[in-house]
């Protein structure tokens, strides 16, 4: 086990649900992970697996109704965010954790000039104001490689291209000087060439500023490019956490393995590996292991018993939520489970 002291952010047993009239959606279910200072943790999962909700839950930005954080704790720098009264959360947001959203097109306020939007973040989190804050904002624009920042300061979002908007988002998040930066699929709606630019920018900034990043994505290519460690989400749960190299060489969860296989096949041109079945319905999750209906290795136990979150590396670097993790001796795993 790595000592907690090194973890700048620690999430324990986080559960968030949406209570709709049709039923309860367990969007995030008992999720735990931690981030060490300066590292990039990729949160990977399919659409609807709960990545965004998990991130928003960290900031307590889930709106009631219908969303509700049901349990868990989020410890940022030793402080449990869930202990803070909600009305004081705005002090944590930005300065503690900042976030870049998935949709650059709609994540900026269309009726306010972008400069002001960045400046607002500066004013709120760096204690600057007026001219100083403006100067800082322009500096931030420069930092994210926006040409002629003094002029761009006065642009409205609609006057910028998607890539530029995403840079603005990054500038805005960074001007909060956050301890942890959450980037929620920052390149999802961008073209590959623009995506490459943004990723390159983020890498550069990371080297310069040395922030801790929770990088959410569904593209394993980006994971390979960006992440130090990876957490895989499936149906609201983190099913595997490990080192990025380990993920690409030795994934332990059948789901991860399945995806890895089909990605490799894309390169070689072989027939693709299929994970049979449909993505889970969050409102009526399967019993036992949520993945069992689609799992090739499913056994009786999987149908009934919820698997625990197990450390299979013995050093706390590879955690899996599976009764029968691949590449691990069954009995050993069994033993671990008990």
């Amino acid at each position: 086990m790595v000592e907690a002291a090194q973890d700048i952010l620690k999430v324990n047993g986080l559960s968030t649900s949406f209570l709709l009239r049709e039923g309860e959606i367990k969007a995030v279910d008992n999720v735990s992970f931690s981030l060490k200072k300066g590292e990039v943790l990729a949160l990977v999962g399919e659409s609807g697996s709960g990545k965004t909700v998990a991130c928003l839950s960290l900031l307590r930005l889930i709106r009631w109704p219908p969303g509700k954080i049901k349990s868990g704790e989020v410890i940022l720098d030793g402080q449990n965010l869930f202990d803070i009264p909600l009305k004081d959360m705005h002090k944590i947001r930005g300065l503690g954790i900042a976030m870049i959203l998935q949709e650059p097109m709609s994540s900026l306020n269309p009726s306010i000039i972008i400069g002001r939007q960045i400046q607002e973040a500066v004013e709120l989190n760096q204690g600057l104001s007026g001219e100083e804050a403006k100067k800082k904002a322009i500096e931030m624009l420069e930092l994210v490689r926006i040409p002629s920042p003094e002029k761009r300061y006065y642009n409205y979002p609609h006057q910028l291209s998607g890539g530029m908007k995403q840079r603005i988002m990054i500038a805005m998040a960074l001007s909060c000087k956050p301890k942890v930066l959450i980037a929620d699929e920052p390149t999802k709606s961008l073209d590959v060439t623009i995506q490459a630019q943004i990723l390159r920018l983020m890498q550069a900034l990371r080297n310069d500023i040395d922030t801790t990043i929770l990088f959410v994505t569904s593209d394993l290519g980006i994971v390979a490019e960006m992440a130090d460690r990876v957490a895989i989400m499936y149906a609201g749960q983190v099913i595997e956490i490990c080192d990025v190299f380990k993920l690409f060489t030795n994934p332990a969860h059948p789901y991860t393995k399945g995806i890895m296989k089909s990605i490799m096949a894309l390169k070689t041109g072989e027939r693709l590996n299929i994970i049979s079945g449909d993505p889970p319905n969050l409102m009526a999750l399967p019993t036992g292991c949520t993945f069992h209906p689609r799992c090739d290795y499913c056994q009786e136990k999987c149908r009934t018993e919820v698997p625990q979150y197990d450390d299979i590396s013995g050093e706390g670097t590879h955690m899996v939520r599976c009764h029968f993790p691949l590449g691990v001796d069954k009995t050993q795993a069994e033993g671990k489970g008990k």
């Binding site: 959203l101 994540s107 269309p110 973040a121």
Partner: protein, 307 residues
Amino acid sequence: MGMGKYILQRLAFTILVVLVISILVFVLTRVVGNPVDILLPLTATTEQRELLTKQLGLDRPMIQQLGDFLKSAATLDFGDSWTQRRPSMEVIFDYLPISALLILCAMAIAVLVAFPLGIIAAYKRGSLLDRFLTVLSLVGICMPPFWIGLMLMFFFAVKLGWLPTSGIGTWKHFILPAVTISFRPMGNLAQIVRYEMTQQLGEMYAITARAKGVREINLLRKHALKNIMTSSITMIGNDYCKQLGGLSAAVEVVYGFPGFGHLIKETIQSMDYPLLQAEVFFTAVIVCLINLIVDILYAAFDPRIRY
């Protein structure tokens, strides 16, 4: 397109609208109505009627009448009001401003009440307060305004004697009619503000703003408010036009308020065609102008709109 050009285009359209509507009303009234009987007392003789028909020029062919009408209307001269026996324009200028002011007051009340209500409801959506406010705004929309007027007058003027029942003179005279008229726009506005605000608070940019530490109250004030302005302004403009175009008549009648709606009602009842024509003209012009103002305001609140 430049702003100037846009305005010119709109003005051209306004002229078209006014022309079409004026001709329509002209034809409608001349073809079907017979105002002479109305303008004379019951005991008037046949000769008297014929004389008046001639004096009003109603005995001439329609086309000729229309031509004359268009000619003089082009110079904003709609002729003398038949009942008030002075230029229709003069009559309009006696009645229109005060109604415009009254409805403006009503709109101001509506805005002042509806915005906070709508915003609070959006902020606390789903709460008891929200539901209460929603029902309240629905009631404002649903109850007939003249009925509300009767009730308010009954309680505040007659029973409690706090306010004058009718007429004009002091600012106090404006309170009851303005409040009564404000109910419907208030309901409309509160609903749209609540709806739009709810939408805005769920927008991505709202999450972004919260994520950088903006307080909810500032989010509402500095970020969301501006974005709901376009739809609110449309609503306000619309309601203003509707009220001025005759909707306020019933309330004005109840409060004996000498306004434009009241005048419209009287004019129509007395078939005072020149005056009616002038009223139609002015309402159409005002509606077009207000629409233009609304359009221009759009650009002020939504940078994406440029003319």
